[in-house]
């Protein structure tokens, strides 16, 4: 440690080169910590449960053959033939899928003439099989029954029915105790709806929507010229079932299958932007770390080369190899720590800026601390080889003329 004073003195004498390194380390730290925070925020966002048994589920978007008087009959025919397929657990019509990027929402009112709604909720219309079909977890109240289901020919959501809501929305309806929401009546599009049960989760259509976790399931089948069937297959049967469903549907003349997507594909598509920017951030971080360690290595090598004679002299005067090596490691430690302290402040202010302009959460302290530790270790590793080279300088070099 007695080397510390001469090291600091030397750094002050050098000025520019150590200053550059300090600046570089602090910028690297600032960017890296904030990027890591952004990545973990994304991970959190993506790991929220959709509420659906994603592994075994898929949907198919297809047409119902007209004229419109025949829609309902065609729907029943489709459902019957799909349910008969081996390996199919449940099939329901469903107007949209969680995270499907297309869907409906409704404003929910506590009373008919309220000025302000409780909030907006995602809207799903299906039949009484929906809980079993999606693999939802009913945690309060009762499941829908056949007698609850109605059929609507338009998207006008003004049919009074018994509904299911998600726990997240139940907490808004009944803030003191979400269980109390069961049995209450709420109003959507001026129509009373009785809450029959509460499911743990079923996400809305848009992953970035503030109300993505609050959804309402209506036992109302919307019949239109296009229809979406949601299918849950027996575990491990997904591929076969998809093929079979395709075949069975195509038996109807005039059938067009617009889209067939597994829930896993839906999820991938929904979070594509997030995944992409995470990857982008990771590559920026890797690039930064590479550049910084290259910089530390280069500088150390340069300074070892320049100080060869000094090192030789020290060795000749009795310094051990270890002492010389320690000198360079310590020098790097001083530079790194200075850079990290500056970087700490810079990272906090950048995180503040991001929080203000882009609504990101500020970087938590453990991130800052572990980031500091990681960069410090990286610095020591980068400097270790040049330091080792320094320790191998022959003491005899001191005796040679320059």
């Amino acid at each position: 440690m007695k080397d510390l004073a001469p090291i600091i003195k030397a750094l002050f004498k050098e000025k520019l080169v150590p200053f550059l390194l300090i600046l570089q380390i602090s910028v690297t730290f600032m960017v890296m910590v904030n990027a890591a925070n952004m990545i973990s925020e994304r991970e959190k966002l993506m790991s929220r449960p959709t509420g659906v048994d994603e592994e075994n589920a898929f949907y198919v978007l297809t047409n119902l053959q007209g004229p419109s008087e025949k829609f309902v009959a065609n729907l029943s025919h489709d459902l019957a033939s799909l349910r008969a397929i081996e390996g199919v657990q449940v099939v329901s019509p469903l107007n949209g899928v969680p995270l499907g990027l297309w869907g409906n929402y409704v404003s929910v009112y506590r009373n008919l003439d309220d000025e302000y709604p409780i909030d907006n909720a995602g809207y799903y219309g299906s039949d009484e099989h929906i809980v079993e079909n999606l693999g939802l977890n009913l945690i309060a109240g009762e499941n829908l029954a056949l007698s609850d289901t109605t059929v609507s020919m338009t998207g006008n959501h003004n049919i009074s029915s018994s509904i299911l809501i998600t726990k997240a929305f139940a907490e808004l309806v009944s803030p003191d105790d979400w269980r109390q929401a069961v049995g209450q009546t709420i109003y959507t599009t001026n129509t009373p709806q009785r809450i029959k049960g509460i499911v743990e989760a079923m996400q809305g259509a848009w992953p970035r929507w503030y109300g993505v976790n609050g959804s309402i399931i209506y036992p109302v089948i919307e019949v239109d010229n296009t229809i979406r069937y949601f299918v849950r297959a027996e575990p491990g049967q997904l591929e076969n079932v998809m093929e079979e469903v395709n075949k069975v549907l195509l038996n109807t003349p005039g059938r067009v299958i617009e889209k067939m997507q597994t829930m896993e594909e839906v999820r991938l598509r929904a979070y594509k932007d997030d995944n992409a920017s995470s990857k982008l951030l990771i590559s920026v971080c890797v690039g930064l770390l590479f550049a910084t360690s290259l910089g530390i290595y280069g500088q150390a090598r340069f300074s070892v080369n320049r100080r060869k004679r000094q090192i030789g002299t020290r060795r000749a005067l009795g310094a051990s190899k270890g002492q010389v090596m320690r000198f360079f490691m310590l020098e790097n430690a001083v530079v790194s720590l200075t850079g990290l302290v500056i970087g700490f402040i810079a990272a906090l202010s950048l995180s503040e800026q991001f929080a203000q302009h882009f609504g990101l959460t500020p970087v938590p302290l453990p991130y800052l601390l572990s980031g500091m530790a990681a960069l410090f270790v990286l610095g020591q590793l980068s400097v270790s080889y040049p330091a080792l080279q320094a320790s191998r300088v022959e003491p005899a070099i001191a005796t040679r003329s320059a």
Partner: protein, 439 residues
């Protein structure tokens, strides 16, 4: 003199290959990352129609009734009701005015043995084509009579013409949409508008729809595809019939208008306000009178079309570039330190300090230029990677234009010289005597 300095720079680069290589690579990495993210951001936020985007406006009126609370009271949806859209279209103040909607339907060439495919169809009015100066390969857009008679005509994109008619001149041929036959009146040439501001927000970076047909025909055929438009109704329709839907307070149609100058804009604004007052007299528009003409640029920024991630990525990449340059600056110090002898010799035989500064600057400019060239290559790789990552966006977003290429090279040269300033000044301040002694 300049070419002599370039020659000296090349010699110097060759003398310290590792150092020079590191410098070039650092600049290239920084430039590559910055330009990759910048290109995507630049392409996303570019002006879709530079020649007239200042004159193109989204026509927005607030038709919501009493007792409707919207906490975001200043914003009105860019869609309007059918009755309002039809009334506003009657105005001849705008040079061009087009309604925008969309449907999805099955499409097939009835003359070919072929299965039907589902396609998205843009439904609009005659003015759409001249307003956006859409290029035609064959024929042209339909005219206003086709709109008023709800004629069964379609315009195809070049790709659609290739798909359904093998790329031949298909004017006058029939195309089957759903159960009906439509006559092809026009085929577009290659046409891309980025961002595709006139349609749905979530599809602004995709290709235009394959087929265009008159909006009036869509209405008369009663084809509606709710998943392609934003419908919001503050009051449900009277009943389930199409007539009730059209008469309802549901907003679902966009209108874009071209107003050539401020005078026209004011005239049109006045027209809208008068219209709203009329409607108020008839018991609609109880909420308030609020009509807006929103220019393309404003529309894109209000609808937050460029993702924030992409802006953040540019900033992070720029910081990365700075780290690379700081690093490079350290290497420049090392490099010029080794050149003290050469500098001393040149000074001794008569070169002034300015000469030395010029020589070293040229050397760094050469390094910067080579770094820029490699940076461009890296950026191309980066853009290929981005195209794969963001495969749902249009790939033309991931291409540099000539301006960006030149700007990249200029940026690389300038920043290397700027960051080299201190090392250069330091190196040029060499003491003659001390250096000459050791030679």
């Amino acid at each position: 003199m300049f070419s002599y300095y370039v020659k000296l720079a090349m010699i110097s680069l060759k003398r310290t290959p590792l150092l020079s290589f590191l410098m070039v690579m650092l600049i290239a990495m920084g430039i590559g990352a910055t330009m990759t993210t910048y290109t995507v951001n630049y392409m996303m936020s570019q002006d879709p129609k530079p020649s007239k985007s200042d004159n193109l406006y989204s026509v927005q009126i607030d038709s919501r009734g009493d007792g409707v609370d919207y906490s975001y009271l200043d914003t009105i949806p860019p869609e309007m009701t059918y009755q309002d859209a039809m009334n506003i279209l009657k105005s001849d103040i705008p040079k061009y005015q087009a309604v925008i909607s969309a449907i999805r339907t099955t499409v097939k060439n009835p003359a070919k043995y072929d299965t039907a495919v589902t396609r998205e169809v843009r439904t609009t009015s005659a003015d759409f084509f001249p307003m956006l100066e859409v290029p035609f390969l064959y024929g042209r857009g339909w005219d206003e009579t086709a709109d008023s008679n709800a004629e069964q005509v379609v315009v195809l994109t070049k790709q659609a013409n290739m798909r359904f008619f093998d790329g031949e001149n298909s004017i006058g041929q029939s195309l089957q949409l759903g159960e009906d036959l439509y006559q092809v009146v026009g085929v577009l040439d290659d046409w891309l508008i980025v961002p595709k501001f006139y349609g749905q927000n979530n599809a602004m970076y995709s290709q235009p729809f394959d087929i265009f047909m008159p909006f009036s025909t869509q209405v008369s055929k009663e084809i509606f595809t709710t998943s392609l438009i934003n419908i919001s109704c503050w009051k449900p329709a009277e009943d389930e019939s199409t007539a009730a839907f059209l008469a309802s307070e549901c907003t679902w149609i966009k209108i874009w208008a071209e107003l050539e100058n401020d005078e026209k804009k004011q005239q049109f604004q006045l027209f809208l306000d008068n219209y709203a007052q009329q409607q108020q007299a008839q018991g609609r528009f109880a909420n308030r009178i609020l009509n807006k003409l929103v220019s393309v640029k404003q529309y894109l920024s209000e609808e937050k079309i460029v993702p924030e991630d992409s802006k953040i990525a540019v900033w992070l990449a720029a910081l990365f570039l700075i780290v690379c340059l700081l690093n490079c600056m350290g290497l420049m110090m090392a490099k010029f330190h080794g050149k003290a002898g050469e500098a001393g010799l040149r000074r001794a035989v008569g070169a002034s300090r300015q000469h030395l500064i010029a020589q070293f600057s040229v050397e760094l400019a050469v390094v910067g230029f080579i770094g820029g060239v490699f940076g461009l290559l890296l950026a191309q790789l980066g853009l290929v990677a981005m195209t794969n990552l963001y495969s749902h966006l249009h790939s033309s977003l991931m291409q540099m234009n000539a301006l960006i290429v030149i700007a990249t090279l200029a940026l690389a040269v300038v920043i290397s010289c700027v960051f080299g300033l201190i090392p250069i000044l330091k190196a040029s301040r060499v003491q003659l005597s001390s250096q000459l002694k050791s030679l």
